[in-house]
């Protein structure tokens, strides 16, 4: 479904992504596990085409089509969407309106149920505005509900668990599994080993590179042994090659 080929990104003479190669198969939840500052969110932005990032070189293929130079909304219309680590807030835009926008032609009756899936009571939240009156955790869950409403072919979830309290984590992970069951492939970006347990495969990312890809339990173990504690936080290439 998604193929990232030899992707490089250099910003201000600093290599952020260094020959990233990654495949997300149809129907797969593919975790990208790594410490902060290793390039995970940058990879998410490049796949979605946001934040003014354009690859220095390399290619992004979606269902075989080159999307490297496509604008955000074309990628969205092809079926890619992104849930940001810190979602934007909108003055005067209600949850109802946001879900309708995300669900496109779907009726509100068909999309408000997704608030339930992420652990929010629709009757309490549907008329609220997506503004500063929501907590960070509430906003994150509404973002997840909006992705569910959109039913993308590929959902990019950037640190979906950050800002979510421990009691709410199971419903959030359940929402991701539900999303996958509904037909979305998921690129699941996180630094949390617990979160990638729901993935089918996991790639460990360090210093802008994908180091290893494999089963979640194997990659979690490898991550624990090699990355905790990390011996070269945010240090580039040659250090990561020692691992």
């Amino acid at each position: 479904m998604l193929e990232v080929k030899n992707l490089y990104l250099t910003l201000n003479n600093r290599t952020i992504l260094n020959d990233v190669n990654l495949k997300v198969e149809p129907g797969e939840i593919h975790g990208v596990l790594g410490k902060n500052g290793t390039g995970k969110s940058t990879l998410a932005y490049l796949v979605m085409g946001v934040n003014n990032y354009r690859p220095t070189s390399g290619q992004l293929l979606f269902n075989g089509q080159d999307i490297t130079d496509l604008p955000v909304y074309d990628r969205a219309r092809m079926g890619i969407s992104l849930a940001w680590q810190e979602p934007a807030r909108f003055e005067g835009l209600s949850v109802r309106e946001y879900l309708i926008i995300s669900g496109r032609s779907r009726r509100i009756e068909d999309v408000e149920e997704f608030l339930d899936v992420v652990g929010l009571d629709p009757s309490e939240y549907i008329e609220r505005n997506i503004d500063n009156t929501l907590s960070g955790g509430e906003r994150k869950r509404i973002e997840m509900a909006s992705i569910l409403a959109m039913r993308p072919k590929l959902a990019i979830l950037d640190e979906p668990d950050s800002g979510i309290d421990i009691l709410a984590l199971p419903s959030l992970l359940n929402a991701i599994v539900e999303m996958n069951k509904m037909g979305s492939s998921v690129l699941l970006i996180t630094h949390n080993e617990k979160v990638v347990e729901i993935a089918h495969r996991v790639s460990v990312m360090c210093a802008g590179r994908i180091l290893k890809t494999g089963a979640p339990d194997q990659m979690n173990l490898w991550f624990k042994l090699n990355c905790q504690p990390c011996i070269h936080v945010n240090e580039p290439d040659k250090e990561s090659e020692k691992i």
Partner: protein, 318 residues
């Protein structure tokens, strides 16, 4: 008692009101107080128990005196409809409001100028909110696309002890034209004032907003809020002033102006002043472009850039 003449002008005004998004029933229901003014003529009026509306037609417009009885709570909003259907003309509304002690009333004013090429609409209001009374005044404008309207609303508002005054003015449909808004509020003890102005400036629109709140009474509260979006060559100057002159007075100025494009111009002048050491007034003013992350979030849902901006602007001006 229903007291209006079903002239063609009246039906044309109601039609224009409905086309601009208004609810026609509000202007025909016998249970709601209302007043319909076209140019300098009163076309329709309905008084209900507890609310009295007196009008005097003048050569330049209409003098309106709205009074509530003491202690009365009016359940349904009073609808005022001011408009001019011709392309040119002057409409001057001199308004006096007496919201008597312990009364509660909400007024919704619709100002309709769909065909304006050179229309001037002036309002000069004197509003008194009695002790523990509540008066809400919400004004929505419906302008055509030509931009030939000059809107000059000015008001002095006096709020007695424990009274509440809330007002909003929204011009988001059509082009604003020229707006010179000047509201000044004087708050007594424990009085509350909330002023909100929202406008979407386009083409060559020229927007001037002045919101002044004097917190003269102990424990009084006030907020002056403005939301302005500008595109094309529109310009706006927002002046929000709050004066804390009494103990435990609390005031806030909250101004956001968004500029879309390179030719529009926004200015904000917040003034906060305190003359009592137990008063506190604050301000926040933000001027800038529309948040890129907001745009990209909506684009990641499949909207193009213009559609995304439209959603964001409508939300801000809602």
């Amino acid at each position: 008692m229903i007291n209006y003449s079903l002239t063609k002008e009246y039906t044309d005004m109601v039609d224009a009101y409905q086309k601009s998004g208004g609810n026609r029933d509000a202007l025909v229901s016998p249970e709601a107080a209302r007043l319909v003014i076209h140019e300098n003529r009163v076309l329709g009026q309905n008084n209900i128990d507890g609310v009295k509306i007196e009008t005097v037609e003048t050569t330049r417009g209409v003098n309106v005196h709205l009074m509530t009885e003491e202690g009365i709570k009016i359940a349904r909003p009073v609808h005022l409809c001011f408009g001019m259907l011709p392309e040119q003309g002057l409409q001057e509304i001199i308004m006096k409001v007496d919201a008597r002690d312990n009364s509660e009333i909400s007024v919704i004013a619709h100002c309709i100028f769909p065909n304006a090429v050179k229309v001037i609409h002036k309002m000069d209001a004197n509003i008194r909110v009695g002790r523990y009374a509540k008066f809400e005044y919400h004004e929505t404008h419906y302008h055509g696309d030509y931009g030939g309207v000059e809107v000059v609303p000015k008001a002095k508002i006096y709020i007695d002890q424990g009274g509440v005054y809330q007002s909003s003015m929204v011009i988001s449909q059509g082009t604003v034209g020229k707006l010179d808004y000047d509201f000044e509020v004087f708050c007594g003890p424990d009085a509350v004032a909330e002023l909100v102005v929202k406008a979407y400036g386009k083409k060559n629109d020229d927007i001037k907003i002045k919101e002044i709140i004097h917190l003269d009474g102990a424990g009084s509260h006030g907020i002056a809020k403005s939301r302005i979006v500008l595109s094309d060559k529109a310009k706006a100057e927002v002046r929000g002033e709050t004066y804390g002159n009494a103990p435990e007075a609390r005031g806030h100025v909250d101004c956001i102006e968004l500029v879309n494009g390179t030719e529009a111009m926004a200015t904000a002048i917040p003034i906060v002043s305190v003359t009592n050491d137990k008063a506190k007034v604050t301000h926040e003013a933000a001027i800038g472009s529309i948040d890129k992350k907001q745009i990209e979030t909506l684009m990641a849902r499949g909207l193009n850039e213009n559609e995304s901006i439209d959603v964001i602007v409508k939300g801000i001006l809602k």
